[in-house]
Symmetry: C2
Subunit: 223 residues, 2 copies
């Protein structure tokens, strides 16, 4: 990788000359702030505060935004990787460690073809009263299935079709997702997945077909 320079892009992924230890230090710096914003947002949904209190909080947040924004990247910041093969995506809507929109979903490979996901879905993820928004489940399933299709990050795959069968309402709280790469034929990958409530009840079962684009086939084997 000696030909790569800081800021170079491969298929939209940005090469950064930042050691993994420093990436982790940045994550540790911003994770508590992101968690604090998640808690703030949860309270704003439920608050009974009066006009003056809410207006004061709004002004304070605008000030913090100005301070944190000095010298900020223009965005979008996308996904970056370094010479150690480590990659990170602060912004990702499902897993982003610096994005309060993301629950975040935590994803782990059990083996090359099995992935488990975990998330805590609080008040900000509500759809039907007391239940997870069906679209939030779809967001998490889409993400988990894309990761599953990557065969432990050895291939880049994009969603072709996704079919979801809603079996039962999913209560807010802890959820678990399971993904399995069930079939692969050339650049076409099939994945099955489900999302379950804390008690193991399956809420949605999903089937997805993922495609490795021609430009990406062999991208990682070459490197």
């Amino acid at each position: 990788m000696s030909e790569l320079r800081d800021g170079d892009s491969i298929g939209g992924f940005t090469y950064r000359e930042i050691p993994t230890a420093e990436v982790e230090a940045i994550a540790d710096r911003f994770a508590p702030l992101t968690e604090a914003i998640r808690r703030l947002n949860d309270v704003v949904i439920r608050s009974n505060a009066d006009d003056a209190t809410v207006a004061g909080a709004t002004a304070m947040i605008d000030e913090l935004t100005a301070v944190l924004g000095r010298g900020a990247e223009p965005g979008p910041i996308g996904t970056a990787f370094n010479h150690e093969g480590h990659s990170w995506s602060w912004s990702n809507a499902a897993v982003g460690a610096r994005n309060a929109v993301a629950p975040p979903l935590e994803v782990d490979f059990v083996d090359d073809t099995h992935v488990v996901g975990r998330a805590y879905l609080g008040n900000a993820y509500e759809g039907p009263p007391g239940k997870v928004h069906g679209g939030v489940s779809a967001l998490l399933l889409d993400h988990l299935m894309g990761v599953t299709a990557s065969h432990r990050h050895t291939q880049t795959a994009f969603t072709g079709t996704l079919t979801m069968r809603y079996e039962s309402p999913l209560p807010l709280g802890k959820v678990t997702l399971h993904g399995e790469l069930v079939k692969q034929e050339g650049r076409k990958i099939e994945v099955e997945a489900r999302i379950e409530a804390a008690d193991g009840t399956v809420a949605i079962r999903a089937h997805g077909i993922f495609i490795t684009p021609r430009w990406a086939a062999g991208l990682w084997e070459d490197r």
Copy 2:
């Protein structure tokens, strides 16, 4: 509706004795705060602030959360409605006016069977570099299609199956969604939808089957 009392629940929806004008005043109070949190979150994703600045911001946000949380509802707060037939859902993950996780999606009926949705999807909704997370599109499509299935809020319908065909990447920015109720047979409703980039390019086409549960069939006609 004279038999209803404040706090009563119908199918999970809560009756509240709050006039629509007051509901709108509450929305006006919290909307700027929610927007401020969306801007804050966008900056946190991109910030280069140092440890001390980030730690100071985190402490400040925790203080605001404590202040806004005094006397707050315990949550989840679900969806409420009043004697004027007005309903509101502060928390909803797609459209919630007091939830910074929601873009928010704005949804309008063109006629009884056609719905248009609009959202601005910034850095917090990223998946592939510079593009909207496919799962975010799925979240918005799921929501829009559920609204479309409601036939201008004359029936309650839940997602049965949802199939999405990903046709092209969706750049971050303004997006438009279209939903159409294409078929209805008893309690089974079919909806087609799409999400488009600002230039009109279709990113995803979706087909959904929605079901009106037995308990909800005729719920609104009776009232």
